[in-house]
Symmetry: D2
Subunit: 282 residues, 4 copies
């Protein structure tokens, strides 16, 4: 039975030793481990993928959680422990453009992404049939009443035990209650190389500025639009022959790739928040 532990805490001597001694006590063997001590924030970050001796056994898992809690409290750790092959429940939100959604559906089916897509939500009906063809629930929402919408979404998230939300080209602004309820658990794909071209119509902005590379940025959503911690970015070369329609077509490939990577990193618990920045253990 395999587990993933990740943690962050104020840095000090002996942290790796503490964790590795605990693992040894529990007869667990490290498969993969990453650490990072940030000299600037003086915080320590760690992700360990390890194997316990037993087959699936919830008593064992409870014991790990209970014993590690003591360590975590002592060292003031933010931490999480997951069964490695348990797929998180994901809710995807999308508007009219479906390229990111289609890509996530394919990669999930093809087992490139270790997630379970529990629900797809859209303010349009265009993607309804694509989603249903995969046997996945679809929810059409109205964006007219923002307060009602937030309640509806929070209720679905609660009911379905959603682990994280992916905005796969969802062109509406999420309400602040939702953002605050799921900190570091909503991933957005912005179709520019942030911090360049924040806001609306970034490919038009890129065209007007005459840039020679365009990009996309996957980031966590905060109440501060386009300012959340960046998870992953990608770029492609463009030239003067390309109009905004062509820039958008080039951009779709970058968006697909960057969002899929960000979702995988999150699903594999590879991302830790470091203030407004992220630590990503590839």
């Amino acid at each position: 039975m395999e587990f993933i532990l990740n943690l962050s805490c104020p840095d000090k001597a002996g942290l790796v030793r503490t964790v590795s001694n605990w693992l040894f006590d529990k007869k667990c063997n490290i498969i993969d481990s990453d650490q990072f001590g940030d000299p600037e924030s003086a915080n320590f970050f760690m992700r360990v993928h390890f194997r316990g001796e037993s087959e699936h056994n919830s008593d064992f898992q409870d014991n790990l959680i209970q014993t590690f809690s003591l360590i975590a409290n002592e060292h003031r750790m933010s931490w999480g422990l997951w069964v490695a092959n348990e797929k998180p429940e994901v809710m995807i939100m999308v508007s009219k453009q479906d390229h990111c959604l289609v890509d996530l559906l394919y990669r999930t089916k093809n087992e490139e992404l270790p997630i379970k897509i529990a629900l797809v939500v859209s303010n349009h009906r265009d993607v309804h049939s694509i989603v249903n063809a995969e046997g996945i629930d679809f929810l059409h929402i109205s964006v007219d009443n923002k307060v009602k919408l937030e309640q509806e979404l929070l209720s679905e998230i609660e009911k379905r035990n959603i682990d994280f939300v992916v905005l796969a080209r969802y062109m509406q602004i999420l309400g602040p209650a939702l953002c605050r309820r799921l900190p570091g658990r909503i991933i957005n794909i912005h179709h520019s190389f942030l911090p360049g071209f924040k806001g609306a119509r970034p490919y038009h902005q890129a065209f007007d500025r005459g840039v020679k590379l365009i990009g996309a940025t996957a980031h966590y959503v905060t109440t501060d639009l386009d300012e959340g911690p960046i998870i992953e970015q990608g770029v492609e070369r463009v030239d003067h022959r390309m109009d905004t329609k062509t820039l958008a077509a080039v951009g779709r490939d970058i968006e697909r790739m960057v969002l899929a990577k960000a979702v995988r990193y999150h699903a594999e618990h590879r991302i830790l928040l470091n203030g407004q920045r992220t630590v990503v253990f590839h």
Copy 2:
């Protein structure tokens, strides 16, 4: 004897035909030709590298210029005609950091860059010996009196028939008279992926924002700081382990590469201005 002609004008039918008939009349053979019709601005851009029959002959060149002037006037062209292997006279300006300067000196000596470095100007004396070792004139300037400095620079540019100026990590703002006197003839390297991180200390800004790629931008200098037409951009992947010093080291490689490309494109007359954007015929 080889020439390069470049031109831009309002687009209409028959422009390629007009130019190719003129070349045929003059018994010139096209070696390389690029065109671009911008549907947005309705302008046409062309660069032709061609060979005339004669060996070096200034009468022939005069005749080309004279006869093409008539065509250019008729079609309201902005244009230039150059002898292909005549190296432009370049003035390089630099502050303390010498990596771009050293790179340009090496590529020039190694004949990767078809330019003649006529003068290196700096507000510091650090690079004096490097420049002199190459047998190139060095001018130390004071940035205390901006008006006097502008006059001094304009006088050098005049006296030495400088074709274009390269700001190779020159950390001072150029005066507006200079910018206006040499439109599209001053190239700057900005150490960020514009329009992200304008202004001072872009690697510190990039670190604080937690971006996953950093970049550099070569652009023409206008009176509007960091807003001139972009010539070339490059990026490299960075990660959470890198502090600002490391970002700057990664950035130096991008800056070197991007600036060297921009200088070569300009020296080979591959860049045409299209409003606030550029057409670059690679």
Copy 3:
């Protein structure tokens, strides 16, 4: 009404003039034009996208073909002339892995690829339902009798007026009759950065050799396996943590991107053969 003309012939003076005068005579206006004179092979290559005055009119098209034939004969040109928005009929061949097929289907539906997929052929039945869901014909083939298979494929190609064939991870070797019948009209995606790792199981070869980048290559199929003219290549960074399964997953993204680009270049008549190499006007 818009057309695309591409041509190659022995290089000499006046070719651009000849073509542009012909276009002027026919009252056609150049939208986009590219030329290349290869000093090594002494051949000239050209692609012109132009607009005629009339709306759709087959007499006009016939006249263009007829008059250009005379020019082509005089200058010994290989050439083709197409109506710009007429989509070529494409046959896709695939084995078990469907990532390239799914990508091509999506991009075609999404109008990123200007093709009509007339038929999908496979030696497995796995992709049958995906193909039929798009309303596209599916043909299951047996690879036991190679002679019979070649006849079957040639017959389909004939019957359906197939313009070109795409091997989208088709893991069988095509028969020589087929290769010779469609020179420069069969595109294969090889899952390595050719000429490295020819033949079977390139990701295993790449793993064993410990390379730090893996790639994919789209090329025209010839009777000489993995040696046909290269159209497009892509790479991604990999590291020591990645096993062959992960390399294959990274590789699938490169394959999708590279194959889609190659198909688009071919469909837009951007590729000209230059001996064993290609000229690709991006």
Copy 4:
């Protein structure tokens, strides 16, 4: 006082714990640590950068080495322990082309590369003055008598306590005695994307094959030419307009970048051999 420890050994439970307990015993604090357990070879790899309490103190270093030896013997480790800011002594070998040499000299002076260049060796005199201008010893060698040359080089390596050798475009084959004497301590830059285009004139081979990307490969030298473990690779996009001379110019930039990275990784003890492959902890 900071140290770097790297090690590889057969994988088993408790290795991280063993090392971290030893560090704790010695009152050392981990600054940076990387591990990798290779499921294929069943080997474990680790690199730890740590800080001891004392200022420079050779007794302390001796104690570390002595105590860790016992651990290393018990677990059959290959290992090394270095003072972190002690620069290795490097011998660079070069032929006529000096772009990699010039780049290494600049980066060393600019403190991007933590090495001390003890000696530059060449079978040509071209680079003599460049090397001497930096105050570095230069040795001109004759390649006529291979046996004598090997002895001469081995004697210099011995005399000067050379830690590793860099072949910075040295176009001669090293003798087998030298290769065997310095396993994993001679770095070569090959001007192709290995395993494509082994042997001589790779840019000519690349041109003939019509590839769309060219590359360079830094690898350890073994007696098996161009087959040693790969450290780092890079590529750049090329197109049909580029002749072999242009490919070589593009290639020089890749070579410079790739070799500089490989030298830095080696100097910082980031590379561990894993059979014919490398583990590189970036």
